[in-house]
């Protein structure tokens, strides 16, 4: 048992934390978003240069990491800085699926991803699927030696910024079947692909993607026909680890802002941190942040465990982090008062992201119910 990071990961974390603290600018992000821009290409290049993308992939596809604790270290720091650059959908979801299922030819595209020169997107969830991974109505129909995709995908992370899409579609079975789902690699500019991008309230970007008779070669398929579900669940497990770690970083940032505020802000002549009611609520908040850290550690350490064990930790972490995230968002705003609600103060960004992470990949209730079902199984 060892709760210290390896030397390499500790160095990566320290370096990321330091460089992002020095160079990543909340006000710059705010201006960017006000102009409707989904991310900063220079920041993205910098992140790639720092090894953020490489750390998410194993050596065999050109990275230098890819393990659970690589994801948790990287995303905790991204969360602490509050970046909005396309990493999650690009490298963890789409990139992770290409790394897991891709042919050698397909895997080659990851070099550009790792270099920050190409962006992938994972077009999976459908408009009414909510948090169900198996509700896929998009059809993949064989026509001669071609495959034709038809359907609609919602909330595709950085879908409008991607060069290449990893698209799930059904080759067999009914709407909620796990069997019969396949993945395809589709260029974003392929004929029949219509992408409508927009910003999310937390500053991340997503798109609705309509596929209207998109014609593909069979070589566009990622892995075996109809057998993609397990890989999708695994990729989403890794994405949940990533957003839980990101939330942890955001909690740490929100906590630090609040600690400073409580020390510096004076009311009725004294620092408000002297008020015992706030002190005790701050203590409860700190406890929950430590619990969130433990939940992230647990999930990172079990991300390669057998499916049932892994998924128990997935749902436990997402539930606990969802609760802790809402508590931290709400309490840190409350302790700040009005200033905490202003867009120009960085806390509002962390609060929005913390709350919106609960809407990614299943919220507190979804994962509570899932945890109960996994326990009963």
């Amino acid at each position: 048992m060892d709760f210290n990071l390896t030397e390499e990961r500790a160095m990566l974390q320290d370096m990321l934390q330091r460089v992002l603290a020095e160079t990543y600018d909340h006000e710059a992000r705010r201006k960017l978003l006000a102009e409707g821009k989904p991310y900063d290409a220079e920041v993205m290049a910098k992140l790639a240069e720092l090894g953020v993308l490489g750390a998410l992939f194993p050596e065999e596809v050109g990275g230098f990491g890819g393990a659970g604790f690589d994801l948790s270290v990287v995303f905790e720091e991204l969360g602490r800085a509050g970046t909005i650059e396309p990493i999650l959908g690009n490298a963890v979801l789409a990139g992770g699926l290409v790394a897991a299922l891709g042919s050698e030819d397909q895997k080659a595209m990851l070099n550009e991803v790792i270099a920050g020169q190409a962006i992938l997107a994972f077009a999976h969830s459908e408009p009414t699927a909510r948090y169900d991974l198996n509700q896929i109505s998009t059809k993949a129909v064989a026509e001669g030696d071609k495959i034709v995709l038809t359907g609609t995908k919602a909330h595709v992370l950085n879908g409008a910024e991607a060069n290449m899409l990893v698209v799930s579609a059904r080759e067999a079975g009914e709407d909620h079947d796990q069997d019969g789902i396949s993945l395809f690699v589709v260029p974003a500019d392929a004929e029949g692909v219509m992408i409508t991008g927009r910003l999310n309230i937390d500053g991340t970007a997503a798109a609705m993607i309509q596929l209207e008779g998109v014609v593909l070669d069979t070589s566009a398929r990622l892995g075996e026909p109809g057998k993609a579900y397990d890989a999708i669940e695994t990729a989403v497990a890794r994405a949940i680890l990533a957003v839980c770690a990101e939330a942890l970083g955001a909690m740490e940032a929100a906590k630090d802002l609040t600690i400073n505020y409580l020390k510096e802000r004076k009311q009725f002549g004294v620092a408000i941190g002297k008020f015992q009611a706030l002190q005790h609520r701050m203590a409860d908040l700190l406890i929950e942040v430590e619990q969130a850290r433990s939940a992230v550690v647990n999930l990172a350490g079990n991300i390669n465990a057998p499916r049932d064990q892994r998924e128990r930790y997935v749902s436990a972490a997402k539930n606990l982090v969802g609760r802790a995230g809402a508590l931290v968002a709400e309490e840190t705003i409350q302790m700040h008062g009005g200033i905490g609600m202003t867009d120009e103060y960085a806390l509002s960004h962390f609060a929005r992201r913390l709350v919106m992470i609960d809407h990614l990949f299943g919220d507190v209730d979804h994962h509570l119910e899932r945890f109960i079902a996994l326990n009963a199984a």
Binding site: H155, Q267, G338, M341
Partner: protein, 398 residues
């Protein structure tokens, strides 16, 4: 002890309900129902409709054009207005300035200002908070120096809600810097078109510029715009904070939000069944409903005691704390009900300019912004921490 309304009260409720059905423009109620943002014009239109009926100023004496309703009538009106998705009335002129003018203003001031509140000529905003003061409202730094028949005002106000629409502001200003904090404050009415007044919007966490900073740079204000006596303004400000707060619990808002939530939960599919049938979500909804059923009676008990002349003390603080927690919980549940569709930020849709819904159900785009916006309920108007201190002090007498 009798929980039923009198026949007169029931008749009044029916009258209000019928009025809403006949007169509230669909264009406006749809915006309210969907949590969209109201324009200045929307508010003014609704004000005019109510004023035509004599119902705009619920708490004013009839001789000034008010409805002169009692507390229960006002509560019934609030409930019915919320149920019909009527816009919340902007309170600054109607229920904040006016009571101060009735209690402490001159008849000349009442005649000069009150009709213009009713006819939309004046849109008032509130100049209490200052940067760095927070809940310590008496920490007023904005200075007003009497020079001849004018006060010259310098300083800054903040958190000025809807100040971007306003043409008048009532302000706390410091007229005697030597006096103790609560003394030496005056209550001044300032025309915002005066030279030296600047308004800067503050974008909030929900992406909307609902509040503002207001700067005063050598603004000249005629002495006849002083309310009451110079240096006694804190008394008038406190009067406002402890009176005229019949709807502090927001029961009507919560009831309307619960009705919306139930509809949304019944029509949103989650895991193969309506969200309303998910036991965890159903439990959260039921818990709010049970609390709200009790809250309605807690509110009525306080209103009914106030109507009998018993001054509400800690009770109104209790209503504020619990009422805001319930309202916030409801916005949280609405946000969660929207699922992934709560994520997109669609300002054009929220502004009502573009009714084309990009994706997801119609209630979803406002769910997250409303949730974030409503964090203010426990901060503004005396934070819940301040309220808890008031409650415990009144009981512990320490």
């Amino acid at each position: 002890m009798d929980l039923s309304f009198t026949p007169e009260q029931e008749a009044f409720r029916a009258e209000v309900r019928a009025f809403m059905a006949a007169n509230l423009p669909k264009r406006i109620s749809e915006k309210v129902r969907l949590g969209k943002r109201l324009s200045k014009q929307d508010s003014e239109d609704w004000n005019a409709i109510l004023n035509d009926r004599g119902w705009l100023a619920a708490n004013w004496p009839k001789e000034y054009g008010g409805a002169e309703w009692d507390a229960v009538q006002r509560m019934i009106f609030e409930e019915e207005a919320c149920r019909a998705n009527a816009p919340r009335l902007v309170p600054f002129g109607l229920t904040m300035l006016a009571p101060v003018l009735f209690a402490f203003g001159t008849e000349e001031q009442r005649q000069r200002f009150l009709p213009k509140v009713l006819n939309n000529e004046h849109w008032w905003c509130q100049g209490y908070s200052e940067p760095g003061a927070g809940s310590d409202l008496a920490a007023v730094k904005t200075r007003a120096v009497l020079e001849g028949d004018h006060y010259v005002v310098n300083g800054q106000k903040t958190w000025t809600t809807l100040g971007q629409h306003a043409n008048w502001i009532f302000c706390l200003v410091r007229t005697n810097p030597e006096a103790k904090k609560q003394e030496g404050i005056s209550f001044l009415l300032i025309d915002m078109k005066s030279p030296g007044v600047t308004v800067r919007p503050i974008v909030l966490i929900d992406g909307e510029a609902e509040v503002n900073e207001v700067f005063f740079d050598n603004v000249r204000v005629p002495v006849e715009n002083l309310v009451g006596e110079q240096d006694k303004g804190w008394t008038y400000a406190k009067y406002l904070l402890t009176h005229e707060r019949t709807n502090i619990a927001g029961v009507g808002f919560s009831q309307a939000a619960l009705a919306t939530l139930k509809t949304v939960a019944a029509t949103t599919m989650a895991g193969g069944r309506p969200l309303a049938e998910n036991p965890h979500f159903a439990a959260r909804m039921a818990q709010v409903e049970i609390d709200l059923m009790a809250m309605q009676t807690t509110n009525l008990r306080v209103v009914s005691a106030a109507a009998k002349g018993q001054a509400p003390g800690a009770e109104s603080s209790m209503l504020k704390v619990k009422g805001t927690l319930l309202r916030q919980e409801l916005t949280s549940l609405l946000r969660r009900a929207a699922g992934p569709d709560a994520m997109p930020f669609l300002p054009e849709y929220l502004e009502g300019g573009d009714n084309q819904l990009p994706n997801g159900p119609e209630h979803a785009p406002s769910a997250a912004p409303t949730y974030f916006n409503m964090r203010k309920l426990s901060i503004f108007g005396g934070s819940n921490e301040i309220q808890r201190t008031i409650i415990s002090k009144s009981i512990l007498e320490l």
